[in-house]
């Protein structure tokens, strides 16, 4: 799988490139800002572009804007945005531009090589990735006592969070040490309780779940 990296800090983009190579990815190039990254993507059409959210010149949300630009010019290229902050808002903005092949991760997740390569692969294959910290903020948000979410069991809530992170049924089953069948049962219950239209597609349900969590 071919990957492009955009980050303005040298130690981070070089470190990330090394990590990715170590994990068996082909790094097609690194870029120090959004424009460079767009050029790089134009030139080498990678499977995934990893981009730091905060880059020159304003050091605010350039990465997010670069992600949108790449999305428009190269819909097939997956985008993984790295951030040092847990901003559910940015994650939702990113997801609402299409959940296929997008991800929002905290920067320090790159330290776990297995998790990193799993996330990059998922994005590269058109799936979506949402950082557990963002999801737990959405799920853990305090709500009124009569909210449907309060009727979920702890296990169901765990499944809901893993769904929001973008994981497949199989991954959820592995993570919780249960059978896929059990996971499917949980998911059916969750969708029923929250009155969400059932969607068997692992990818598409992420937005439904996240939107639901954000709006309640």
């Amino acid at each position: 799988m071919r990957v492009a990296v955009g980050d303005d800090a040298v130690i981070l983009r070089e470190g990330l490139a090394r990590l990715l190579q170590e994990a068996g990815f082909e790094v097609v190039g690194v870029a120090a800002d959004a424009d460079e990254l767009l050029e790089l993507v134009d030139r080498s059409e990678p499977d995934v572009a990893i981009v730091d959210i905060r880059m020159p010149p304003t050091h605010t949300d350039e990465g997010l804007r670069a992600a949108k630009a790449i999305r428009e010019a190269h819909p097939a290229v997956g985008i993984l945005v790295l951030s040092q902050h847990v901003h559910a808002r940015y994650a939702i903005e990113l997801l609402s531009s299409g959940t296929d092949g997008v991800g929002y991760l905290l920067k320090e997740r790159v330290a776990d090589l297995d998790e990193l390569s799993a996330s990059v692969r998922r994005v590269g294959q058109g799936g979506s990735v949402l950082d557990p910290a963002v999801v737990s903020q959405l799920v853990g948000r305090r709500r009124q006592a009569d909210n449907p979410l309060e009727h979920l069991t702890d296990r169901e809530r765990e499944v809901l969070a893993l769904m929001a992170e973008g994981r497949s049924n199989k991954a959820i089953a592995e993570r919780l040490f249960v059978s896929e069948h059990t996971v499917e049962k949980h998911i059916k219950n969750i969708f029923g309780t929250l009155r969400l239209p059932h969607s068997p597609d692992d990818h598409r349900r992420v937005l439904a779940v996240v939107t639901y969590l954000d709006s309640e």
Binding site: R89, K107, E108, V110, A111, L116, R141, R142
Partner: protein, 577 residues
Amino acid sequence: MRAKLFLLVLAAIAAGAGATWLAANANAGRPTEPGPYLTSLVGAALIASGLASWRARPDSRLGLVMVATGFLWFAGLMSEATDGVLYTLGVAVEYAFVAGFIYIILTFPSGRLRGTLDRWLMLAAIAALGLQVAAMLFGSGSGLRCSGDCGHNLIQVFGDNGFALTLLNLQRLIAAALTLTALVLLVIRWLRASRPERREVTWVLLAGTATLIALTVTVVDDLIGGPLNSAPAKIWFATLALVPIAIVATFVRRRLARGSVAGLVVQLGAQNEPADLRAALSRALGDPSLELAYWFPAEARYVTGDGRPVDVPGADSNRRSTFVERDGTPIAMLLHDPALEYNEGLVQSVCAAAGLALENERLQAELRARLVELNASRGRLVEATDAERRRIERNLHDGTQQRLVSIAMSLGLLESKLAPEESGAAPIVREARTALTLALEELRELTQGIHPTLLVERGLPVAIEELCRRAGLPAHLKVDLDTRLPDQVETAAYYFASEAVTNAVKHSHGSEIRVEVSYDGHMLTVNIADDGIGGATVGPGSGLRGLADRVEALGGQFTVSSPPGRGTRLVAQIPCA
């Protein structure tokens, strides 16, 4: 001075007596003869009021010019004499007084010519006088429009009465043009004058205008052959007496104006409202444009009653300043119309009468100025704090956070490279990575608390929305704001909301929070209410006190309503247009 004055008066009496005698015994028949009464009236009025004016303002040229004009007037009467020398001299200076009159009318009350046009008018007047002398070179006594028993013209060189008449007609044309121009100039000046200026000049201007009109009629009548005979000239001479009378009347009016100071003293004693001080002084001085400024010793400058700084007007300004001092220390500055300079006595009496009231006002103004300064410095402090917070957040992000992430990466890399036989090291590396993740999490919380990046990047509604999302109680948000506001307003509102929400979660024991943000184009209102136990106070050292400072530094208002058992409502209102 006294002796000089005495001599001048003696000379005036002598000249007046001579001129009056000549006027009474004139036997030359000319169209412009004043007669004995007008002769003495005009001359005496000019010299007397000139002396009065000179005494009142010795630095002004006006009094001198008036006295000189009076003497010239008398000298002109020598043209009635039969003696050759007197006659020649008299005819030569016969109309010289007209130049003096024009000077007086144009320059009253300052005695200074005001512009190029003024100077050209004076030059034209002097040229017209020169033509009189030139005509004398050509015409005999009778050729100079003198019929009857004229004196002998001693400086006649050529015998050409026709040319002499032409020169005299030219002189009259110039005189007519000159007076008409001066008339227009005076009317324009009057229209442009301020109220105090008008009060100074109106009487003199009316008399001067009458004189100029009468002069124009006389000259034109003379030019076309004098069908009205000497009637216009008689009227003109009568109006001439009006100008000095108007000048004396103006002096009397200035003195009488000082009577208003007595009224002012009574008024200042009776009133308690300091805001009326300006109105009272303005009435006493007759200057509606009057402004007051007070000495602010801390910054060694003058400030308005509300404490805003005021500059002392420069020499080229169209305002004048009068400084009020007590025992050598400045108290106040009166900014007034330049025309008040002519009645310095009035201004000084008013300042003396209002000294105590001004000193009181000054103390209040100083207090207000200190408040203005205090507010500004509070604003600067908040601004400096925000800038510092931004800088710290940026440094943490670009420095510490990145280094920690890079260490985490290295650990990840190390973990992947560990050979299976070194399996004992793996848990240690994992432990280090976990600790690092926690450290990064703490750092993240810290930097967000220091400076909320989302606020800067996405604005107040989004930042408060995120705040509510993270709140430890269900939070209902209602936002009515679709525009970005100035940084310091957004920041103050955000910190206010953040602290208020934290307080509600920690102390209210309530079950939910309502957050409302609204903006009506002038005022941003943030309203945070919980349904808890109430009883919150804003004491010194509490987080709420700091927030109140922040809001108040922006000229905003902060209110707490927290009746026991009925929840707490915190409202911040920050003005911003």
